[in-house]
Structures are given as C-alpha cells and as structure tokens.
Symmetry: C2
Subunit: 696 residues, 2 copies
C-alpha cells in the first residue's frame, strides 16, 4: 500500500492531534511493530529490541488465556480462572480442588491438564505479498478460498508435521497485512498450583470488573517435554517486591477481540438495539436463576456456573452501555471518524478505491435494527450481541447440531453452512459427543425463558410464532421437550449423528422434532440477515480497513484478534465519576472486606495465615495498559522486564476498550507477584516453588 | 403575558413549521381552549361550543381513571381495570368476581364501590390574576405558600362545604395559568357490570400496550343520589354500530402526566441513566417473581399482582426507551427546542426575565446522573424513574412511615418533610392503617432483590453500605427482618404510630430498627438530591414554562396534569417498523388467537357464546388521539358526539407521548361499544342494560 504514503503523514498528524496526549499509552501492539521510541518517551524507560525479544519468548498462550514463563524449568504463571477447567477435570466428588486448592508438595505431584497446550511465539515473518498474489484478480468466494489455500500452504511449508511447532498465518489490520506466526508448542501441561476458588474469586460478581480488588487469581502450570520439566532458559525473573505507584509497566498477552473501527452508525445500533435487548433479557434470566438457586442445595449447585456466566456477560454489557452513553468518549470517537473520513475523501484515488464505507454501513443499520432480535433469538451468530438461541439449552443445542449436521453433510462441503464444512466437522463432533451433565430443571428454565422472551420481543403476531410455539405456552412446550428428549445421552446423540438425515427424520425425540420444525424459519432469518446485514457489513468493513491501512499504515496498531500483543502503561489509580480508587489494595484491606457473608468469606487457609502476613503486602493493583478479554493471565513486567504480576481483570468502565481506548477509565486489574509470593509462603507453604522462583 | 404577544405570532409560525402537518391531531386540550376550527378543518367535522359542552358534561373522572355517562339514570362506562379494586373489595374467598364477572340482573343487585367517587366538570373560570396578585413580590417558600393559600380561599369561596360539589384551582402551563374547576361530585358509586378478568385482560402482558387486541376491558358503574340512580339528562348516546375506518373521533378524559417540556439534556439523562437502571433491575425482579410463581399454586397467587405491576411498568419503560433512541423522533424534539430557544434569545426582555433555563438544566445533569441511583434506591421520590425503595416491601414501607412520621410529627408542620405536613397526615394514616395482606416470601424477594441491586449499583465500596448491609448478606438481612417484624399487624402499626418517637426508639421490631439505622443516610441522599438536582430543576422548569407561555400563550396546550382534556383524531391503523396493524380487530380474530394456553384462554362464557356472535363484530380499534396513562376509560365519541368506545390502552411505541406527540406511532386502543353491546347481549345476557342504552 506504499502508493498511498504521500498523504499518510499529514493524516497521521491529524489523527494524532485528535487523540489526547495521555492516550500515548493506547495500543495493543504486535511485537514486530512495537513503538519502542514512543514508549520510552512516554514512560521514561530505555527498552530495546532485546527487551522485546525476551518478553516475547517468555510470553505464553494458554488456551484462550495468556501466561508467562517464570523459571528455567517450564514453570508458568497464569490466572486461576484460566485453569478452572483443568481443576474441575482433576477433581472427584470426594476431592474438589476448587474447594481445597491444588497444592502439590513437589513436582512429582503435578498433574496433567488434559487437552491443554502452551505456546510460545518464536518467529514472525511477513507473507502479505504471497497471500495477495494468490488471490489477485479473484472475487467473492474464490478470493477468500485462494487466500485460505495459500495460507495453508505457507503453514505447511514452514512447520511440516512437527508436533512441537505450530504455524499460523494471521490477518492483521483486517486483511491489510498477513504474518506467519511460528510457535513452540507444548502439549504436556501440568498443574503446579491453584488456590481455592474462593481465594481467587473473593468478592464474586460484586467485585468482578472492579477495583479495589482482593483476589489471588493466580495459578501455576508447568510445561513438560518427554515427561520431564521443559528447559526454558528464557523466562521472566520473579520480582517479589512491593510495586511502586507510577512505575512503568508492560503487559504481554493475547487480547481477544476489539472493534475499534466500528462507525458511529454501527455503535448507535449497538447502543439502541443490541445491548438493550441483550441486557434486559439477560437480567430476567439472572433473576430466574437466582430464585431457582435459592430453592435448595442441589439447585444452588446447578445454578452456580450459569449465574456466574450470565453475570459476567451482563456486567460487561453494563460497561459497554456506559461507554456508548458517555458523551465525551463518544465525541472523541466521532472526532476520529471525522478526521479519518476527511482523509479518505481528500484522496481521489483512495475514494475511488474504497468508496464511502461509512455511508454504506449507515445504510445497513435500519435492517440491522429490525433484524437483530429475530436473528439473535432464532438463529444466533449475529456477531453483534450476546443473546444465544434457546438460552444456551444443551438439549436444544444438540438437537440443532444434529438436524443441521444431517442436512448439511448431505451436501458437498463447499455448499454447506460454513460451520459444517469438512474442516470443521471434527470440532462439531467433539462438542456434540462430549460428556456434559444435563440438568432438566436448568434446561426448563433456559428454554422457557427463551421462548417467552422470543415471543415478547418478536410479538405474538410475528409469523415465526406458529412454528416456535404453535398453540403451546413457553412453560408447557419446554416442559414437554425436556421431559421427552433423550439427547442428554451421548450414545443417543452419536447414533443420530451417524444415522444421518434418515435417522433424524425418523426420530421421535421431541427435541429433534422441534429443531426440525423451526429450522426453516431460522434458516430464513439467517438468509435475510446475511443478505441485508452481514454481507454488506463485511464488505464495507473491508473497505474501511483498506482505507485505514492506506491512510495510517502500521503507524497504528491492528484490532485485537487473539494474537500476541504488547501494551504499556503505568501503575495508576483512577479518579473519574463512578471509578475512584488508588493504585493498590493490601491484605489489610482484605481483612476489612471479609464480612463472613458470601461472597466475602475468607478461606480457612487465609484465616489461619492472617497473623503471619504483613498487612501492607500489596494484593492487587491497577495499571493503565490497554487490555480486553483474552488478556487474562498476561504477565505484567517492570522496566527491567521482571514479572511483577498477572492481569486478571479490568473494570466496568474499561469495557469501552472494545470500541476505543480511554486513558481516563482504562484500568487493568493485576494480582501482584508480592501477593502470590506471600500466599505461597504464608498460606500454602509451597516452599519448593519459592525456591524455584529464587525467593529468599 | 400580553406584552410578549408582539413576537408570539412569528414564533408560533416557526413552531408550527417544525411540526409535521399530520400532527394537527396533537394536543391534550383543555375544554375552555379547544381549537374548534383547527379540529374541524383537520377532521372535516362541524363541531361547535355546544358539542364541547355536552361532551364535558357527559365526561366523568373516576379515581385515576376516566369514564362517560351513557344513560339518563347515572349509568357510566369505564374500563374493567378501573373497577378492579371495587371488584376485589366486593369479592369473598367463595365468590371471586374477577373470576366469574360481576353480573347483576337488575339495578337492585348493583353494589357500592367503597370509597369511590365520580365527578363531572361543570364550570371553569380563570383565577390567574388573583393567584398572581396574592404572590406578587414574594420569593421562595413564601411565594409558594401565598399561592396555595389563595387557591384554598378561592376553592372555599366557590364551593363552601357542599359535599356534592368539589372545587379545585388547577395550575396549567406549569404556573402560566390558573383555573378554578368546579365539579359535581357523586360519592355513591355502584358497580353495574364487570366482565371476567380473563375477558378484560385477554393476552395478558404479551398484548398489553399493543395492538391487535382482543379485550373486553369495559365495565359499568352507576352514580346514585339519595339511594336512587342519579338523574343525568346530559349523557352520551350509545352507538352500537360498527365503527368506520378513517372516521373522526374525540376522546374526553383525564390524562395523568406528560413532560413535553423536558429539554434534550434532561431526556439524555433519562435515556442514559434513569431508564437503563430502572429497566434492568425491574427485569431481574420480574425473573425472580416469575420463578417464584412457578414454585406452587400459592406462590402463583401471591406473585400474580406483583408480576402484573412490574411487567406493566417495565413495558412502558421499553416504549420510552424506544422513543429516546428513535433518531427521527428525537431530532424533531431537538428541532422544536432550537426554535423555542431561539425565540427566547431573540427577545431581550424575555431573556432577561427567564434567563437561559436550557443551560441551567444542562448544568444539573452531571449531578442528576451521579445521584439518581442512590436517590432512587435509598430514598425514592426522584420524580424521574420508577425504582422504588425496598422493592415496594410492605413491611419496610410501614417501618419507614412510622420512623419518619414519628420524627417529623415532633416538629411544627412547616418544618416537616412535605409528605408529613398536617394536611397530609390523614392520608398517611389511612395508608398506614389499611388492612393489607403481607406475604413473607414476597417480602423476602423484594427486600433481598433491593438490597442486592442497591449494593450492585452503588458498589460494595459505597459509604452507604455500612448502614445498609453492615456485615450481613442481602439474603440473610432480609430474612432476619421479615421473620422478626410484627408490622404486618395493623394494631402493631397503630400502637407505634400513636406512641410517637419514644415508642419507635424503644421498639425492638427489627424492621423499625433497620429503618432507623438507614434513616440518616437516606435523608442525606435526599438533601443532596434536593440541593443539587430537584431544586435547580424546579426553578429552571418554571423559567422554561414562563418562557413557553410568553412565546406561545395558549395557542399550545398545557402538559397533562390529571385534569379533563379533549383530544381528537381518527380511527386508524399503523404502518411503521415495529408497529404494523389495521384499525380493527374482530371476534373472529379472538377465536383465532385463543390457543387454550395462558394468557390466551377464552372464558367459558365467551366459549359458549361463540356461535351466537357475529364473527365480524369489531372488538377493539386503534385511534390516533393523543393520550397518556390516566386516559383509561375515556369515552370515545364520533362526530355526532355519540359514544363508540372506551379507551383502555395505547401501544409500546405510543409511550413517547410522555415526551412528545408522534402521529406516526401514537395510537390509543379502544374497546368498542359494538363489542360491549355484543358481550352484554350474547355473553352476559344483561338485557336490562341494553334496554337502558336504547339498544334494540
């Protein structure tokens, strides 16, 4: 895109001018394009390329989380909530590690996390030219397939079939750049320490997405090679000291997804239509689940995870809503859009190439507004909101997968719905055949809620109601489906999957029959959505990305896409309305906050260690680095590259990060190495780990 | 205000130009300022002052509802939901009229509605000059008191102590005009017919605030004088014919409250802060109540009314949110504000007199946004939202009234909180001593929900949490309070009330102790709110009203305030996104909609009458008249002044009526006289009423 460089500089100046000076700390930078000079200037540090290389080679991708190597023998710190599945899998009804903590006294007691992998990014190379060349002159599906094929070839050439390496061609700047990322991959990952769930989630939903915070949301894993701890000479040095307010920090992790190129018109649709529906109906589900959880101990157990899930999503939505109704924040985004749009308009070449994506996206919004509810409620996959079909009912999910899977597999792969193409089928099967508990009462709550909310939002007079409810009530229909379905049994699901369309059509399982009954309507809704909303949006978004890359090149950072990024900032509190706090919390604060009533109950271990712990020890801290979901577990480094904490959360007001960075509100919430050191020593007595970390 | 007339005409033209031509139907007009010519021109009718007088003298105020005289012997039609309290009071556990309908076969069987009154507006006279003179030169409280005293004198002079007359000085244009309204008052009101609740609310919450609709939400009452039916020679003529699409209609009733002078800044606060909190937490309460109602028959009975209440308020909020996020609607309001503001700015005299109320109101909003949640949750009475303290717990309400009542009555009346001034005490006592059932489980749900939402919205770190929760959990605290309180017993409440402050302070009732414990905090919140939000808002709103009256005089209508108004429009369907329907529904539609599953279950009476009823009979219709809550039961008249229906609802999208009239969406929902005639004849067999109505 060098041919647009002639006006990039002026535009960049204009862009920079529209950003507040403090927003120098903005940016989820790729490691091969990190603004070293700008960071040093902003922070007063002296980092160099060697610093970046060490950080990158010590940073770990662990599933959807981030992590950091902390010893030469494969020891890694991440968040406790990142090892929750491993902890659950290792537990038995008699030995619930979430209750007790997982506390191996030696390496020999470390236990394998089934299915877990840990990856370190070892090489980055540019393959943009090769990808672009492969798709040159092609359009539509042929264009996409040519790119995908070329990416596959590049990956195979670079990595072969070596199981210890993974290659991935990543698209940055939404197709403006393609890079080959090469990872050292470990598939023997063992759990080395996990605290009690209650210590890691102290404060529960009330403290979630907030600060002050008092949570030991940390855990250790270890990578093994040939049955022995892997040798990892490059790793972060453990710094157990008290952190300093105002000190520079770097945060290295894999932020999941940002949408910082959404136009004002798109943001208004999210503000006015998507979030209100999602949040209002989620709030009602939350109420139903809370009341259900109070009906007995078993109900409380069944409802616990669903409530945590709903509350987490809901609270994120609250933060996003606050962003979209914050006039200052929105004015700043609008100002950036105006500057960018003007830059494009002023270039005839660029305008001719990309058209007016803003106008195109604005034109889509009336359909998006009208079709969001039916799409979200009947088919899902809007890419815009959080409402899930059938309220996340397992049984309905199985039935839909079985019905669609049977219908789609009867076609050639290229003609199928994308999620049933040959390359995705093994994933579909893995999910479909997985052993998961199904609780009929929970299924009833989810389905009944979904049916009643769908009827409410689409109205009784919607043409979809005939198939969706017929003459039944949400209560009666869901009861009938849940009581009659056998899909909770994996063997039943497997038989139906293997039996194909004939087995599906012959099935008398009421959930299968129901999924069949509403299938035509939900497919029709999806087609409508794809034609009127998703298709035009994708096309205009690509135009927008092309324009952005043309104007700004890589002087700006790409949207987060789950790839490794480095961000920087300072240890810093906050002082804006609705978010006023200092930079640190201490164990003294934890003792104060512990009321003895859930969710503010101390673990017995913390209770017992209370007198041994220096009350001024810093537990958690706030830093101003630019993060988003997926950054969980990200190592936080000081200017010397020493690890001083792990990111485990942000704040409600930081949820605007999805749409744009706001230095006033953006705060990552960090569990400090000082707190972890104290916990390992005074609470858990895991001296072998302290020795390994070099703690005296 | 005649001295500003010189620029009123230009401003009015500008104002009119900013309004769509169709909005000619806008306006809740007072009877003494109805735009006869404009209505005739818009509708093609030929109404005159005599027409208006007959309508006024046939219109009835019935509690918070509206109604219309339909015979010379005191028979009145209103909505069934307006007689719900009367029906409940007349019922016994063995004879539930809401289930069976109330179907007296003759006048002798009509039963008195305790405490009900019916009033007819007989005279209107202007007392503006007298009121203004009384308060001339005064400021602040003295100003308000002088006006109130003068109004009291005027009322006494005009009505004396005659129990059959009521006089009321009403403030219109928010103090721009004062009128003396004189009513003929009837306090012997008897129930003459009420259908089954299920026939009147067919479709339940799903059909509430919507159209098409299939509800017989009508009821008859009769006013008595000296134990005999009152003679009411002026009344509406009953027209049992099928209504005609497009025909002109007039709607005469008592709309409760509109806020059409809210500025853009105020509306944004409602959109961004007030409605989101109110709606989200109401939705959770709804979920808790719905799940509770499913736990058993008794729970279903207990939860029924609370659910109806929450759902009604919630749905109104949905409509208001849609208004505030409708760009076209909001642009229109903003345009009107701009024109109005410019008119004021262009007059030096007026500007000097009223200042810049828009800027003053804008300046209040940051405090309003920050203080809304604590005020709504701790003290209530924000005048902005619908969240009520303690979730509407009876027991807490009693305790707060007892605590505040004792504290306030220890002071001279003039120094008390307004709601405990001497003139209000009898009302406070009536509510406090009333026999009402208290359901401990419902109390628990309300209190627990309120405590947990208050903690969530104010955050755990709010200074209010110490008194509000201390070290207890919402679940534990509410359980302790509900289990220990004796306030469900009216005798206990009476003893505490009569015992005054000493009794309150000595009480060991945990709810009393709790109300005392949080009293200082909630009073502090209220003081803060009054100083920073309510006071400045009232002052600026008065400036705004003065400016509006100066610019437009009475060429515009005043905001609704519960006084009698006449509106006009047409029988008309709707065709905008989210609201597409024809003008009529028929019994044939009812048969189709009746699925047999709640809330779409036919009454046995309707079932049995099905073959007798002409399926083309119009049940309900939509009309474009300008209405708001309080218009329930309003008689709908044709151009001849014959009654053709009663207003019983509007639509979700019509909720924007609070902020401004929108011809595109505004629709009132009417039960037709044709449907009522058919029901009386074919379902209920009440021939004596048909004879009285003159139906052949």
């Amino acid at each position: 895109m060098r041919h647009f460089a002639f006006f990039a500089s002026a535009a960049v100046l204009a862009f920079a001018a529209s950003v507040t000076p403090a927003a120098a700390e903005e940016g989820m930078w790729t490691y091969d394009n990190f603004p070293i000079a700008r960071a040093n200037e902003s922070l007063g540090t002296h980092i160099d390329q060697g610093f970046l290389d060490r950080l990158r080679l010590s940073s770990v991708k662990f599933g959807g989380c981030s992590a950091g190597l902390i010893s030469g023998e494969g020891l890694i710190m991440t968040n406790n909530h990142c090892v929750a599945t491993c902890v659950a899998n290792l537990s038995t009804p008699q030995l619930q590690y979430a209750e007790t903590g997982f506390l191996p006294k030696s390496r020999e007691e470390e236990l394998k996390c089934q299915g877990a992998t840990a990856e370190i990014l070892t090489d980055i190379s540019d393959v943009t030219e090769r990808i672009n060349k492969a798709a040159h002159g092609l359009e539509g599906q042929a264009f996409t397939r040519a790119r995908e094929s070329e990416a596959g070839r590049i990956e195979l050439e670079a990595c072969g079939t070596d199981k210890t390496i993974r290659c991935q061609v990543v698209s940055l700047y939404r197709g403006g750049q393609f890079k080959l990322y090469k990872f050292r991959k470990y598939d023997d990952v063992r759990l080395a320490w996990a605290p009690e769930d209650r210590a890691a989630t102290f404060g529960g939903d009330l403290d979630n997405f907030s600060f002050p915070r008092f949570a030991i949301d940390a855990a250790f894993i270890r990578v093994y090679e040939d049955g022995k701890p892997a040798q990892t000479p490059t790793h972060f040095t453990w710094n157990a000291d008290k952190p300093t307010e105002g000190e520079p920090v770097f945060l290295s992790g894999n932020p999941g997804s940002t949408q910082r190129l959404l136009t004002q018109a798109q943001l208004m649709t999210i503000r006015d239509v998507v979030l209100p529906m999602d949040q209002l109906i989620a709030s009602e589900l939350r109420g139903r689940l809370i009341r259900y959880s109070e009906e007995g101990d078993e109900q409380a157990f069944i409802a616990m995870d669903p409530i945590v899930g709903v509350e987490n999503t809901y609270k994120r939505g609250v933060g996003r809503m606050r962003a979209l109704t914050d006039a200052d924040f929105m004015d700043r985004l609008a100002g950036q859009e105006t500057v960018f749009r003007r830059s494009v308009a002023e270039s005839e070449v660029l305008s001719a190439q990309v058209g007016d994506p803003w106008a195109n996206l604005a034109a889509v919004q009336s359909d998006a507004r009208e079709l969001y509810a039916p799409m979200a409620l009947l088919e899902g996959g809007t890419g815009m909101g959080t409402t899930s079909v059938a309220g996340g009912s397992n049984l309905f999910g199985y039935a839909k997968t079985l019905v669609r899977g049977a219908q789609e597999r009867a076609k050639p792969s290229a003609e199928r719905l994308a999620e049933y193409s040959d390359s995705r089928l093994s994933g579909v099967e893995a999910r479909l055949f997985a052993e998961r508990p199904t609780y009929p009462e929970l299924e009833q709550i989810r389905l009944e809620w979904w049916l009643s909310k769908t009827r409410e939002w689409l109205t009784v007079d919607s043409p979809y109601m005939a198939a969706l409810l017929g003459k039944e009530s949400p209560e009666g229909l869901s009861a009938r489906l849940v009581a009659g379905s056998k899909l909770a049994d994996p063997a039943v699901r497997r038989a139906l999957w293997e039996g194909g369309l004939a087995a599906i059509q012959a099935s008398d399982d009421p959930m299968i029959q129901y999924a069949l009954r509403i299938d035509a309507d939900s497919r029709a809704v999806r087609t409508d959505w794809e034609n009127k909303v998703d298709g035009p949006t994708s096309k205009a978004s690509e135009q927008l990305s092309a324009a952005r890359f043309a104007v700004y090149g890589d002087t700006v950072y790409p949207d987060a896409t789950g790839t490794l990024r480095l961000t920087y900032g300072k240890v810093e509190g906050s002082d804006v309305p609705g978010q006023r706090f200092g930079a640190f919390t201490t164990f003294a604060g934890l003792w104060d906050r512990a009321t003895g009533a859930e969710p503010f109950v101390l673990t017995p271990g913390l209770q017992a260690a209370r007198d041994r712990i220096d009350p001024n020890t810093v537990m958690n801290m706030a830093v101003s680095t630019d993060t988003i979901g997926g950054s969980s577990g990200s190592p936080v480094l000081n200017a010397k590259g020493e690890i001083i904490g792990a990111n485990f959360d942000s704040t409600v007001l930081s949820q605007r990060n999805a749409y744009g960075y706001d230095i006033r509100t953006n705060r990552s919430v960090i569990v400090t190495t000082q707190a972890v050191t104290t916990a390992l020593r005074d609470v858990y007595g895991l001296d072998h780990l302290l020795v390994e970390l070099g703690v005296k």
